[in-house]
Structure formats: C-alpha cells, structure tokens
Amino acid sequence: MIIAIPSDKESLDSAVCVSFGRAPFYCLYNTETEQSTFLVNSAADSPGGAGIKAAQLLVDNKVSILVTIRCGENAAKVLQPAKIELFKALNLSVADSISAHVQNKLEPLKEVHAGYHNGH
C-alpha cells in the first residue's frame, strides 16, 4: 500500500505542504517495503486544474492513502472514485506523519474546500 504526503521539500524532515494540488513534491511511502521516494509534482505550476492533475498523478502512481492538510473539491472528485482515502495531516514532519498514519493516529479528512480558483 502506498501513502502519499504533499511535502514542501524533497526530504523526510520537510513540513507537510499546506496545499495538496500545488505542493512541490509528494512523499510516496510503501508500507510493505517501508521505502519512501519523492515525486516531483508536475501539476504545481499549472495555470488551472492543478488539483485534478495532482490527483491524476497519485492515481497513476497507485496511491491508496493521502495524508493532507486540505483537499479541493475537484481533486476529491478524482480521488474518491479511485478509492484513495484521505486523512487529515497534523502539524508534523513528513516522517512523523507517516508514523502517525501507520499507528492509526490520524482522523479521516472530512471536509473538502471549494478551491481557490481565481477565475480568469
């Protein structure tokens, strides 16, 4: 099972990024091999639809769990049918967020926001 966590930097001691769709990296943690890798988020600088493209990236990388501070509604529309479960990140590093999830200490993310689309 792969857990994805949006991260500010390409390292396990990085903070979890406040944005899902525009996070610069995702830490992908494989619970079977206990290995983590970092994926550059190609959606980060999209003019629009970043959440959709970022969610697609996680779908394509066979992610099952997303630990995030928040998630927009368009991203959620892609993540939910792909059966990617969302958990609410706490104020922890990426490494500690992985541990917190493995120890079942995180709550499901209940709210998705309407997005910060600035129109045109």
């Binding site: 959606a43 629009g48 959709i52 689309h117």
Partner: protein, 286 residues
C-alpha cells in the same frame, strides 16, 4: 457630425475600473445622441443596458460552447487526452474518463488526439443573446447562465453581430479577460472615472490595460464636483485627454435611477452627451 454615408464608423468601448462608475449611463446616452448606433452590452454577468432601451426584440439565440463527451464503451484508458489537455480538464481512473466541463476551454484537442474516437463534441448552452431596436439604436445584449465561470464565449457571439456603423460597447467592470475580449474590436476606448482617490486608482488600473492593448483612449469625468478631483489629476499627470465632464447632479441621477435615458428626456443632457460624442469622434480621427 457630417453625414458620411458608406464610411466605416468607429467603435468605442466604454470602460471603468469598477462597477457603478457610469459606463452604462455614458454608453446608452452616447448611443442615443448618435444619428444611428449599435449598442453592445458586454457586461454579460449583469447586463443592464436594455433596462434603459427596453428594445423591441428582433432576434434571440442561445450561446453554446463545444464540450467533449466520452463513449465509455470505446475508451480504452490510453491516457492520451489527459496528457494533452493544457487545462487539466480530464482525469482517468482505470478505464473511466472524467471530464470537468467548467475547466474545459473547448479547444477540441482531446477529440483530435483520441486514437479510439471515443470522444465527441456536444453543444452546451452557457447563456443567451438578443438583438432589439429602440429608436435609432440597435441594442445587442447577452447574459451568462448562473453557475458558468466565463462569459467570454457570449461576448464573442455578441461581437459577431457588430455592423460597420457607429458602435458603443458597454464593457464589464475591471480589467479581466472579459474586458480584454470586449475591447478587442474597439477603435478607441473611453474610460469613465469618479472624482475620488478610489476612482483614480481604478482609472489607473484600466488605463494600464488599454495602454498594454495599444488602444487609443480618453477620459470622461463623472459625478464631478467643485474642488479636488484625483481622477482629473491623474489625467493631467499622464497626458490623457479629458473629453467630457458629467456633473454630480440630482436630476440626472433621478432620471437614470428609473431607467430613463437622460439625453432622450432633456435637451440639456442631449447637449452634454452630444458634445462628448463629438469630442470622441475628433479624438479617434486624430
């Protein structure tokens, strides 16, 4: 004005940095003092020109855009359309393609790249438009459906019905894409501004936009009072011609507030707006 039959007459766009500055007031009155004019209300999010013209409707139609629709039986999940879309309007989960209509820009690229021919285009209504007549004015107006996020396709449709006669385009407020689209065919822009610091700030914003677009322009000062006028100071400092002043006036406000066109009701205002139109025509011929 000389009677120059056959000549192509100019298109003016009326702009302001914010709403409530007097764009529609100026637009409907300028169109009304002309011998013949076309008025185009490009403020498709909240059109109000026809409240003044109350035109006899001659033509109306729905405005549609093309949106992709997928045939799930033909889609094999190859991912090509998702990778192609520059706006990220498509997502693929397994073999199921999701299409985000409100993000799609109707470019048709996904249909073009699909090897399975699983995508087709369908019309989707985003608003409506109408053409009507009010005296010597042909009024073209459009409105966007609630929930849509871009009025640009409606403005494009309105502008298709522009003739070669004198045209007054009532632009949306601000300096967004909608405004850029509205002034595309304008030969000359008239910026209308209030006599306040806030008014001057909004004037500066919209003046920057028309300068970037390379549109010649001039200013009409609205709601003018005795004393300091920051918008006037801005024009003087930046060498922008001032082609009219509309005084802050209870009678004008009262006529306007009940949907009356001041230039049609009152000789004095007919002269005020005729003078602005003549000065605008002089500027455009410079």
């Amino acid at each position: 004005m000389q009677d120059t039959t056959m000549a192509i007459e100019p298109t003016f766009a009326i702009l302001s940095g914010k709403g409530g500055t007097g764009k529609t007031l100026l637009s409907v009155n300028l169109a009304s003092v002309a011998k013949e004019a076309t008025y185009i209300d490009c403020d498709v999010e909240e059109p109000n020109g026809n409240l003044f013209f109350n035109p006899t409707k001659e033509f109306e139609k729905l405005v549609t855009v093309k949106k992709p629709v997928v045939d799930d039986a033909l889609c094999d999940g190859c991912h090509k359309c998702v990778d192609f879309c520059a706006f990220n309007a498509l997502a693929l989960i397994g073999n199921r393609l999701m299409i985000f209509d409100d993000i799609c820009h109707s470019c048709g690229g996904c249909i073009y790249v699909c090897p399975q021919k699983a995508l087709t285009e369908q019309d989707r209504a985003v608003g409506e438009m109408s053409i009507g007549r009010s005296g010597a004015v042909r009024s073209i107006s459009g409105s966007m459906n609630i929930g849509e996020n871009s009025g640009v396709p409606i403005i494009e449709e309105l502008l298709k019905h522009k003739s070669s006669g004198l045209t007054i385009i009532d632009a949306p407020p601000g300096s967004s894409c909608l405004v850029t689209e509205s002034v595309r065919l304008a030969d000359f822009c008239i910026l209308i501004a209030e006599p306040t610091t806030f008014g001057a700030h909004n004037l500066a914003m919209v003046q920057e936009l028309v300068s970037l677009l390379g549109k010649p322009h001039a200013v009409v000062l609205n709601k003018t009072l005795e004393g300091k006028n920051p918008s006037e100071e801005f024009c003087i400092k930046n060498n922008i011609p001032i082609i009219g002043r509309i005084p802050f006036d209870k009678k004008l406000g009262s006529l306007n507030s009940v949907g009356k066109i001041a230039a049609r009701e009152d000789k004095h205002y007919h002269e005020v707006f005729s003078s602005i139109l003549e000065k605008a025509l002089e500027e455009v011929r410079k």
